[in-house]
Symmetry: C2
Subunit: 370 residues, 2 copies
């Protein structure tokens, strides 16, 4: 793999991702300033994740906006593969989905793909992925969604609802398509091969267009869905993609729930957060304080700074000050880490309280099979 | 395809099947006279379908018998792909399953694979195959099963129950396995590829060994199941296979529900039965009466005779007389057809009454998802 090579698939992200190249490779569209203005005009808000390019790419977001302006409805759909506890990187599309839901006043479906993680992880049982699905659901609910307009789909629990839709999709996708899209081989298990049709299914759960905010690594599933949508008499799903959240240990992969040290979980205690960041967070600083003061740090590769940019410091002025101070050498790596630790622990304190309350709310959120 | 070539897969049967060769090809065991005796000793009956080799092959039927003799339980499972109305050939394994159920006093699951037929038939919608599933269920119920011990599984209706089991199976089967077993290609749709795990699922619906009476064309599915059973901590399913029921128009394929003229449906009126048999039933007779009287007919290739042997004339003496009379030329082809027409119409008169009553019983039989 050469320096500018990278891999982005739903099950494997590796290398230093060049997002402009990825847009070309995947055939998506960069979010233009015109599109940003349109969204701003409708929502009366300039969301920092859009402004900062955390959401950077889309497919037919324009159509959704135009339809909305004509008074046509749509719904939102996003999800998560429950291979472990929720980490803070997962919250990015969920928080953004919540914002879209509130601004556009639409329904949202959140899919927990316990079957997928069972198929793709040799060491996980279906009981385990199902247990993580419920754990992850608590984090989702803790973000404050409205249960009237928000339903959680757990694949093994809601297969009765999903399967007849998935079957329509599955009949139109062949093994070649999945080879070309996901790089499947003859050794891929038949659960994995079929699975993409279950990730497609919620796109057609309401008879309306759908907009999917999601990590760009999940785009291949919906490329297939878009290819076959018209064959089953449906509209193509529209997508809006966020960048991959770097692992604590630095660029070269997305934050993975399976790798303990590279990951801050929503269930981590303040002490654990502090230790993980101080010990593992990849730093853009210089080897010693003297050099750092002289040469300054590099915020663009510093994971602590990136976490502030992506999630924990929505205020542009404050963020800019941190950027400039770190770059100039005024702010030391340890100090930058302290800022992030405080932000995360502040967030997690409230989040963990809400997460505890979510245990009483979960039933309201679970989709009921007809 | 040379004269002794034939194809037997779950979706395609063609050619003149040599069952001894098929046993070798599939790696099953011929039902031995020892096994027949064992079954006779337990059941106190010499079932004509066993005696005549309509059920001719098995996998581990011995183990089921031995376990039974040790007081260990088992359950039965069979099914049908609802691509159309039930034809009389379908009833063979169902009637035999009923006999086994009564003799061994065990539970029976009957699976209607509406999803499979949707995946495999380009022209059928899921609504259509589901409608045929309910139609076929009526024929099954009409045979007089005990609803306390008999449950009907309709795949799209019971996917909530089947999917978690199927997922365990699917994780252990890869695309290569399905290529080798079913001849799937890169163009096979992903519903079909996954489907075999759903046909496996009922094997593990109870925590007991299973015995599956079924048409030998369905054996490949359970060959896969048997290959992976121990990997998921389960016992291999045991099987007992019936021969393919010839189409009305003669050997060279099984009776297919999709081909109108080669098929007698359980819903056919007496007139239609008469017309179909007189017009289409492949005859082993001579071109004219004079030659027939002189040379005699060939009952071994005569479809009317075969239907009597396989299903409609359980009495050996009566059957032998028909055989001898036809062979000697004493019985004409038209007379043989008349015997069959009368037998079928007599059967269908009662069957259609019971089928009508089954509409009131169906709810008792449908498996309820937990």
């Amino acid at each position: 793999m050469s320096a500018d090579d990278f891999i982005v698939t739903p099950w494997h992200v590796e290398g230093d991702i060049d997002y402009d190249k990825l847009i070309k490779k995947f055939g998506t569209e960069k979010i233009s300033s015109e599109l940003l203005d349109k969204i701003k005009n409708i929502t009366n808000e300039d969301h920092f994740m859009l402004r900062r390019g955390i959401f950077f790419s889309h497919r037919e977001m324009n159509r959704i906006i135009e339809d909305h302006q004509k008074g046509k409805g749509f719904f939102l759909y996003t999800g998560r593969g429950p291979s472990g506890h929720t980490h803070i990187g997962h919250l990015v599309p969920w928080v953004f989905a919540k914002w879209l839901q509130e601004k556009f006043d639409v329904n949202l479906y959140f899919q927990l793909t316990d079957d997928e993680k069972f198929y793709s992880k040799t060491n996980l049982t279906l009981e385990e992925t199902n247990k993580f699905a419920y754990e992850n659901a608590l984090d989702f609910i803790a973000l404050g969604f409205n249960p009237e307009k928000t339903k959680i789909i757990i694949n093994t629990k809601n297969i009765q609802t999903l399967y007849p839709i998935a079957a329509q999709v599955a009949k139109k996708i062949n093994f070649s398509n999945t080879k070309a899209t996901f790089g499947f081989t003859n050794e891929t298990n038949i659960g994995m091969i079929f699975y993409t049709s279950l990730q497609s299914a919620p796109c057609f759960i309401e008879d309306k267009p759908v907009l999917i905010p999601l990590g760009v690594d999940q785009d291949p599933h919906f490329r297939l869905t878009r290819d076959i949508a018209q064959k089953i008499g449906k509209q193509k799903p529209a997508l809006i993609h966020n960048i991959m959240i770097p692992a604590l240990t630095g660029p070269g992969g997305k934050m993975s729930a399976s790798e303990e040290k590279g990951t801050i979980y929503t269930t981590d205690s303040p002490d654990v957060v502090k230790k993980k960041i101080n010990k593992f967070a990849f730093s853009g600083g210089q080897p010693d304080i003297e050099q750092h003061r002289k040469l300054g740090g590099n915020p663009d590769i510093d994971v602590s700074y990136q976490y502030l940019r992506i999630f924990f410091e929505p205020n542009d002025e404050k963020l800019k000050k941190i950027y400039d101070d770190y770059k100039s050498g005024k702010l030391l790596s340890g100090e930058l880490k302290s800022i992030l630790i405080e932000k995360i622990n502040e967030f997690l304190k409230t989040h963990q309280e809400k997460r505890e309350k979510a245990k009483q709310q979960i039933e309201q959120f679970l989709l009921q099979n007809k």
